[in-house]
Amino acid sequence: MSNINVYKFGGVAVGSAEAIRAAVEHVRRAAPRVAVVVSAANGVTDLLLDAAQAALRGDRDASGSRAAQFEARHHELIAALINDRARGARLRALLDESAREMRATADSVAVLRELTPRAQDALVARGERLLARIFTEVLEEHGVAAEYIDAPDVIVTERRVGSLWPNFTRCERNAKKLVLPIIDSGRVAIMPGYLGSGPDGEVVTLGRGGSDFSAAILARSVHARAVTLFKEVDGLMTADPKSVPSARLLSELHYREAGELAFYGAKVLHPRTMIPLVDRKIPLFVRNTFREHASGTRIADDVKPGAYPVKALTAIRRQALISIEGSGMIGVPGVAGRAFTALSQAGHSVSMISQASSEASICFVLPDDEARHAVAALEEAFLLERKAKLIDRVRAESEVALIAVVGLGMRVVPASRRAPSPRSAARA
């Protein structure tokens, strides 16, 4: 383990001059043994995606106005944060170049009426890159030596089962070559989040929650002592406070608990974030960037179940429950297998499966908007069985919510005492 901390600032945490000042303050305290991952200012990524869509529609006015908004937003940040004239000029030149390139890309998309993933990623990447540049200069202006490092030089992805996945070994090699020397020379390394390079060396984006993932990959690559994600929330909660007003902040969670929560829709963390950290046992902190003294949530390997077997609840709404029922399924092998094959061929992924031990029915949950398509796929797959009345029907019940009850301690506490009784939910 090195003594490097990796800090990541999310969109809101770098969304205004005031927020950036707070972020710089966090970094200054940890400097110089810190590497920083910076998101785009909040709303900027959507703005850029909007511009791409507008260009695809051929609406050049709309894509042009997005480019103007992009420029204005960053001009404002630079004006508010940078006093040094040379620094300001440098950043404005970068901004001009970025906006010019954005217009050119949008124009060519508008001409071709085709938006390739590459073109879209190239368009979107400027949000993080520009903000990381600004962040670097603001640090320097506050007397903290800092150096920008471009994410595609460090985060390298490769194609795996159809999607891109970072090659951890190469990332680590790159970090050793490019990031560690910066930190060892007493400077803070600043890297844009959400970006990496693809198999052909092109710029790619890492998908939803991508900047958190970038921070985790970087932390793994420099053998960091900890990763801290600075967000606009205090940390992970026992439940969404919008649904449960008495929800509490969780001070500690095991990686696996956090992973489950993230998977089941707790939006604070993306489930992938933990993956690069787990085997290296690098603890992850989620903290509120605006509350200097709040400790936030610590997610690590050494967290014990504690006195609460259940730690958190989360809900995924707008789901549908699909059930296949019929006496003909009893004792007939392969029904479940065929059902899931049919679904996966139709492009659906299910989130929960439940089968009665009588085997007379099998049900599973997937997003509501996929239900009709999934039912059609299943009806087709079981056409013969339905004709022979072996399967009565394939039914979709929509407007279902999934509630996940998560806690490491459920493993060790006997079910009679602590497993959730459906009755307790029914009583309410």
Partner: protein, 419 residues
């Protein structure tokens, strides 16, 4: 409410329940209640009530502070709802860090080790302050702990180190006078850094050891009172000597007694020169908003240059030449109903530190032995001054002053984070 389906993963990490969308919120609330998740906070969440201390210096005061922290732990937790942990110890032999806080047993063991004369760490030669600062930079500043407090219990020139600690987000509690008696500009920089970063820099123990002198001044100022003059006897050692003179002892004998009893610094000149008292006077004056240097204080030493000697025994012997002069002074004072005291007087214009003949019946004159007293005259307390008297030094009271500062910071920050 109707549960549509239920499933448990083989990892047993989660149980998933499908309910109708309309029931989702009620189901969440019911389960939250069932598992008493609204009570999860007191178990693990320490945000807002925990302070982590780095003790700089682990001598007699440091060890006594550790003992008081251990003894008070329950009281602090139950009565005030705060948790104070020692997470780092640093002295000239190195730094020891325990991120989750030293256990009482570990602290006691280290204290015993240190008291027996051993060092905290194996090191042939002591670290310089600069080396210690580098070590702190590498190991301490970047600890991800919230609300760290650096407690300076040394008697070194630590101002640069404190400056760096502030820049790294540490609150400071100081029992060491030297970093606050630095040049005015350097002092300003410390105060300004603390102010800019919303950090506390408290130093109650420097002025009155265990006596609440600064606290009293702060309260007067907060309520709009204006302090006109402070006079005080701030040295237990010199108090002892003055009382002995009053009881008829010769000056040199009184000093020898104090030296032998360990009331003085190893080199008694450190006390007799009055520099230590002058530093206290300077700190008090600066606290009142005055801007001045140590050299601006009119300082009267208790010995003359002729008797100076580096060897303490010889020095004390030489003091005999001053005995007659002191005896005469005492006698003269007595005729006027007065006694001699070593007094710091922080007036509107001048600051004077030296021997004064004061009325025997005055607050200063009534003082006995090693006790300290501070007499504050303000706009409100003009005819009848505010007096704070009590033991001014000693192993138990100085750490108590330090502990008060630590508790004050923790409580203040807790209120801040609760907002």
């Amino acid at each position: 409410m109707n549960v549509v389906a239920i499933a448990q993963g083989s990892s047993e990490l989660n149980i998933t329940i499908a309910v109708s969308e309309a029931d989702a919120t009620r189901a969440l609330q019911a389960l939250h209640n069932e598992y008493q998740l609204d009570r999860i906070r007191p178990l693990a969440d320490t945000s807002g009530r925990e302070s982590k201390l780095t003790l700089l210096g682990f001598g007699q005061i440091g060890r006594e502070l550790a003992a008081q922290l251990i003894a008070q732990e329950k009281h602090l937790r139950q009565e005030l709802g705060i948790d104070i942990k020692v997470t780092a110890l640093a002295d000239r032999s190195g730094i020891k860090i325990e991120e989750h806080g030293f256990t009482p047993a570990a602290l006691q063991k280290l204290a015993k080790q240190k008291a027996s004369g051993a060092r905290l760490f194996d090191r042939d030669s002591p670290l310089t302050l600069e080396q210690l600062r580098t070590m702190m930079r590498d190991e301490l500043w970047l600890l991800p702990s919230h609300r760290p407090i650096l407690v300076d219990l040394t008697s070194d020139e630590t101002a640069p180190l404190l400056q760096e600690a502030l820049e790294n987000g540490f609150h400071i509690v100081c029992a060491n006078k030297k970093p606050l008696a630095v040049a005015q500009l350097e002092f300003d920089r410390l105060m300004q850094t603390a102010r800019e970063r919303g950090l506390a820099l408290r130093y109650e123990a420097t002025a009155g050891a265990g006596l609440p002198v600064l606290d009293t001044l702060a309260k007067l100022q907060e309520s709009g009172d204006r302090v006109e003059e402070i006079q005080g006897a701030f040295s237990g050692t010199l108090g002892y000597i003055m009382t002995a003179l009053e009881e008829g002892r010769r000056f040199s004998d009184a000093v020898r007694d104090a030296w032998k009893l360990g009331y003085t610094e190893p080199d008694p000149r450190d006390d007799l020169s009055g520099t230590d008292v002058a530093r206290k006077a300077l700190i008090l004056a600066r606290t009142l908003g005055r801007r001045l240097e140590l050299s601006d204080i009119a300082l009267e030493s208790l010995y003359t240059r002729e008797v100076d000697h580096d060897e303490p025994a010889r020095f004390v012997e030489n003091l005999k030449t001053l005995d007659d002069a002191f005896a005469e002074k005492i006698a003269r004072a007595k005729r006027d109903g007065k006694v001699l005291r070593y007094v710091a007087r922080i007036g509107k214009r001048a600051i004077r530190v030296g021997v004064e003949a004061v009325p025997a019946a005055s607050p200063l004159g009534r003082l006995h032995g090693t006790d300290n007293t501070v007499v504050i005259r303000s706009k409100r307390y003009s005819t009848n001054p505010l007096v704070v008297t009590g033991p001014g030094a000693g192993a138990a009271v100085t750490p108590a002053g330090v502990l008060n500062d630590i508790v004050a910071i923790t409580m203040h920050e807790r209120r801040k984070s609760a907002r």
